[in-house]
Amino acid sequence: MKTLQSSEIAAAVRGLAMSASCDLEPDILDKLLAARDREKSPLAKNALEILVTNANIASREQIPVCQDTGIGVVFVTIGQEVIVSGSLEEAIQEGIRAGYAEGFLRKSVCDPVTRKNTGTNVPAVIHFEIVPGDTLRIGFLPKGCGSENMSGLVMLPPSAGLPGVEEYVVQKVKDAGSNPCPPVVVGVGLGGTFEKAALLAKKSLMRPLGDPNPDAKVAEIEQRILQRINQEGQGVMGWGGVNTALAVHMDTYPTHIASLPVAVNIQCHAHRHKEIEL
């Protein structure tokens, strides 16, 4: 058994929220540099150079990489042997509230009916998962909605098969055009049910960028889709070239014999994701 204080969790989440918005992780920086080096279109290459410079300025001066510091998406993986004193959910929301206030991050959460801004960037969207063990892992993905808005989900008939899946994903990215700030990261959830597919797609974005799915069959699909997107896509910012997407992550789950759900969650190059363990 391990006991964690809710105040300690709130403090950790506060730090997570602040650093996630200003300091890009090495995985995304490496991908941006590689994309820049491989890019042929001069305008796209220059835009990638700007993105690298932007990341440096953000980190050095602790300015958000992008003004859209997102709605918080939190993945909580809690060991069965962990006891939290106080409310875990409230501790997380409190950490985000404090991080966004003290980090000068943009408050972008509003009521969907009145559109009134909550002014605090909470509530965040929190997903809980219970696993064996005595650790608490908190993954934070502040999600900008220029990219989120370009996402989609379809319940394909099984007869559509893998060609149907690939076609849907590629078309989704093409339709998004320059809206989601390409180069994008494409999260795909395949299988499960309606909501499970969406969650798989979102969660796949937490994977270290470009790591293949451990299942070789799925990894091959990821590669095929990535190649097609970069052949057929609009390129960086919609300005041409070969870097519409930096990676495709696909996660799968068994599904019903009548079903083939496919969810596509589009993430932008401002791919802010961080994880801590307590």
């Binding site: 920086l29 490496d30 540099l33 001069p42 305008l43 220059n46 835009a47 150079e49 700007i50 993105l51 690298v52 410079t53 932007n54 990341a55 440096n56 300025i57 953000a58 001066e61 300015i63 958000p64 990489v65 992008c66 003004q67 859209d68 510091t69 000068f104 991050l105 943009r106 408050k107 972008s108 559109r115 801004n117 002014g119 900008g144 220029g146 808005n149 055009g177 320059s178 809206n179 989601p180 700030c181 609009q234 390129g235 910012m237 919609g238 300005w239 041409g240 932008c268 190059h269 401002a270």
Partner: protein, 201 residues
């Protein structure tokens, strides 16, 4: 990792343009032209637009005169002590499409954001002689360096969706839609497909 200097890395061969726009400047801009904007502009995004158009619907006066102006679609992050503004890159423009024709009728001459515009907006821009620019999405930290003054003008309660006036210096942008109805995104697509570019309006 490599750390390029801040002052380089913008687009090359930028053409300097003053804002608000002078007479006869807009017709010289062509889709795909790279410009650097200097002068003053207004900002606005979803709620700002909703409120401006609501004022028009009620027959009331707007807090700003849009004649000849450039409207930048941005919701900046808050400024820290000593900063002019926080991160301030473009937001996606199509969400403003429902409102844009109304503002073009008032003499708005340019909009700045990211992503493509609807056909009705493109037609309205052509009719009213307005240009649409895009800049680099997700480069809000760097773009904030081109904003040298910021003044809150209206809708403070809307938080990041308030209406600001920015003074900008050498703000980089690409012309997407010019006065002749060309669209740079469509030109890029035509080039990739190896087909001749045909204007769609």
């Amino acid at each position: 990792m490599q750390r390029p200097k801040i002052d380089k890395g913008f687009f090359e061969n930028l053409r300097p343009i003053s804002i608000p726009f002078a007479e006869n400047v807009l017709q010289t801009l062509k889709a795909g032209d790279l410009v650097s904007l200097s002068g003053s502009l207004y900002t606005g995004r979803d709620q700002t637009h909703r409120r401006l158009v609501a004022l028009l619907d009620e027959g009331r006066k707007l807090p700003i005169d849009l004649q000849g102006q450039l409207l930048y679609y941005v919701g900046p992050s808050p400024a820290k002590e000593g900063q002019v503004i926080g991160a301030a890159g473009p937001t996606t423009s199509y969400r403003m499409d429902a409102y844009t024709p109304r503002l073009l009728e008032l003499g708005l001459k340019g909009t700045l954001g990211k992503g493509s515009r609807s056909m009705p907006v493109r037609e309205a821009m052509k009719k009213h002689g307005a240009v649409y620019f895009a800049t680099v999405g997700g480069a809000g930290a760097l773009l904030s360096k081109s904003i040298i003054k910021s003044e809150l003008l209206a809708f403070e309660d809307a938080g990041p969706e308030a209406l600001f006036r920015f003074e900008v210096l050498n703000f980089p942008a690409v012309v997407i839609n010019d006065l002749e109805g060309n669209d740079y995104y469509e030109m890029v697509t035509a080039e990739r497909l190896g087909v001749k570019y045909e204007k769609s309006i």
